[in-house]
């Protein structure tokens, strides 16, 4: 990164753009290939993804969010964001250049908007962040039975990165962040009945494993595709360990499943 103040500002702005699926800034993932700025405030950003077949809707979301973030900077007079080497590069880059929006970019393939998609992944990011804090808490307090997580409130969590990450994801979903707010909640902020808690925690763990697994795989694929991207990637936080599994939940089976429903 050069010393140009505007370039630093652009990088900082791109650091606020998240990959919704992996729940990480595109800068940490190495998705920002280059940033060029001129003295007149013209900015050109190139983005790259792990494969040319990454989902086009997510690719568009990240690229359009990147353009919005850069355009919003005071000293930027003109912003261009280009997605490289993707099967929809031509389509997406044309749409971005024309500020055509999602429907203007994808035409008949777009029905309304990508808000539902964003919301789905905000919920997943929250679920995973919740699991990280609670699993950590169970490890630190082996006497705490899983069912008692019903009573755990935000104020019971340590002042740690995982807690701050949870608060940010709660805010993204519009959930409360007061110290008296319960931690183990659904996407509306409602507690689960105590009897359901082991299953809900177990599901949250599957969500977290899925997101973490994808994040590692996508990082690796990006490095395979663009070996120079390794230098740009920031390591992802390590998974929590489960030294003490408080209830021996491995022997449970999901027999008493709640009423059939869809989670996504």
């Amino acid at each position: 990164m050069s010393g140009h103040p505007l370039e630093r500002a652009v990088h900082a702005a791109l650091g606020q753009v998240y990959d919704p699926e992996l729940d990480e800034p595109i800068t940490d993932l190495g998705f920002v290939r280059s940033v060029d700025v001129t003295d007149e405030g013209r900015v050109t950003v190139h983005l790259r993804l792990p494969t040319s077949f990454c989902s086009p809707n997510f690719a568009y979301l990240m690229a359009s969010d990147a353009k919005d973030a850069v355009t919003a900077l005071a000293d930027v007079t003109q912003a261009a964001v280009l997605l490289d080497d993707h099967h929809d590069s031509e389509l997406i880059n044309r749409g971005l250049a024309a500020d055509a929006g999602y429907r203007g970019t994808f035409g008949a393939e777009a029905e309304s908007d990508l808000e539902e998609l964003r919301e789905t992944f905000r919920r997943k990011a929250h679920t995973a962040a919740m699991e990280r804090t609670l699993t950590s808490l169970l490890r630190q307090r082996p006497e705490l039975a899983e069912e008692r997580l019903y009573d755990v409130v935000l104020g019971d969590l340590p002042d740690a990165p995982a807690t701050r990450a949870l608060l940010r994801r709660r805010a993204d979903l519009g959930l409360g962040t007061a110290s008296t707010d319960p931690v183990l909640v659904d996407e509306h902020g409602d507690r689960f009945p105590p009897g359901e808690i082991p299953l809900r925690l177990r599901f949250a763990r599957a969500v977290r494993i899925s997101i973490d697994g994808n994040a590692h795989f996508c990082r690796g694929l990006l490095r395979t595709r663009y070996p120079d991207s390794a230098a740009d990637q920031t390591p992802r936080a390590e998974e929590p360990a489960y030294a003490a599994s408080p209830t021996g939940s491995a022997t449970h089976s999901p027999m008493n499943h709640p009423v059939k429903e869809n989670v996504s």
Binding site: E21, P50, T51, S52, F53, C54, S55, P56, N57, H87, F106, A108, E109, A110, E111, S112, D113, L114, E116, L117, T120, F121, K124, R202, F203, R205, A206, V207, I209, S210, D212, G213, N214, H216, F217, G220, L221, R223, T224, R225, E239, A241, Y242, A243, S245, S249, A250, T251, H252, S253, P254, H257, K260, N262, V263, S264
Partner: protein, 332 residues
């Protein structure tokens, strides 16, 4: 078959392909992008000793397939799961005639599953009836992100898709392998979402739905529906090679699948030629859940036998010699 430590394993590779991605067969840049994506998967997840040169990866032919699977790879029976990708490859990606000829030559070793696309509507349905007879179909492979005209994907519960499933049920094509990809119509929603599998699994209880990649990258959504739908199964294509690069992640995948499903609904596959079966079989037989991950019970020999072959053999009525079946001692 594979033997180790006095145990013998019957191996069914439930997802293999005979593809042709050479430049002559590429219809446009997407043909190259697609195989390059596969090759990066291969390079990223394979041990160095198992890497193929790019040229060989583009096309390997039937002879090499037979050697990699049956001479070197311990496989007793393998099932073709072809992707057509007609928008990317002139003569399709999966080579129907070549694969089917090979299956006819080695009926004891190979099963040919075909594919359909419900967006061909009535003409495709008529074709399905002919294909079912010609290929003697027991199963099909459906790639929901296939591009077709101005549509780049479909859902399994779309009206025409349901008609194809009804026809499959009528024709005795019982095993529906689902492969989710990055595109869907409309693009508003997550293309990897498996809610449509949930719908059709409920509505077609006589059919088996094998979700390839065990739902990855949406393992959790897959587990949630599979625990509720007894006719939904997990295919381990793409998940298997994590056994090498990220064994702890692999342990989590297997641990979660065994928790949410059960040991009878998980099928091994190499996803040949994305990867070759030899090293995957060897590693899986040696594999154990790390001791500190005590949220998962250890894998048993019986579970490994089921996953490596007995489950898919049961689904496809593949005869298993008595020596490879579970003995009561192993079950206990």
């Amino acid at each position: 078959m594979y033997s180790k430590d006095g145990e013998s394993y019957f191996i069914v590779d439930a997802h293999i392909a005979l593809w042709d991605a050479r430049p002559d067969n590429q219809l446009n840049v997407h043909g190259k992008q697609f195989i390059d994506c596969f090759y990066d998967y291969h390079r990223n997840l394979s041990p160095a000793s198992e890497l193929w040169p790019y040229e060989e990866y583009l096309y390997y032919g039937g002879e090499r397939l037979m050697k990699d699977l049956f001479t070197d790879g311990y496989v007793d029976h393998a099932i073709f799961q072809p992707a057509r990708l007609g928008a990317f490859y002139r003569n399709g990606f999966g080579q129907t005639e070549e694969a089917f000829a090979l299956a006819r030559q080695h009926p004891d070793k190979l099963t040919y599953n075909h594919c359909w696309d419900p967006r061909f509507e009535q003409a495709g349905l008529d074709q399905l009836r002919r294909d079912a007879g010609r290929f003697g179909l027991k199963g099909v492979k459906l790639y929901t992100a296939e591009w077709h005209g101005d549509s780049r994907g479909y859902k399994l519960d779309d009206p025409w898709s349901r008609r194809y499933l009804e026809t499959a049920q009528e024709l005795g094509i019982k095993n529906i392998h689902i492969h989710k990809g990055p595109t869907i119509r409309p693009l508003d929603r997550d293309a990897f979402d498996v809610a449509d599998v949930d719908q059709v699994a409920t509505d077609f209880p006589e059919l088996n739905f094998v979700v390839e990649h065990c739902g990855l990258p949406r393992l959790e959504d897959f587990c949630w529906i599979a625990t509720q739908e007894p006719n939904v199964h997990a295919g381990l294509a793409v998940a298997m090679p994590f056994i090498h690069t990220r064994p702890r992640y692999f342990a989590q995948i297997i641990g979660e699948l065994l928790y949410w499903l059960d040991e009878d609904r998980i099928q091994f596959s190499s996803d040949y030629a994305l990867w070759t079966p030899r090293w995957l079989v060897e590693r899986f037989v040696d594999f154990q859940i790390p001791e500190d991950m005590d949220e998962y019970p250890p894998l048993t020999v019986a579970q490994k036998k089921k996953i490596l072959g007995l489950n898919a053999a049961a689904m496809y009525d593949i005869p298993v010699p008595a020596a490879y079946q579970l003995t009561p001692a192993v079950v206990a």
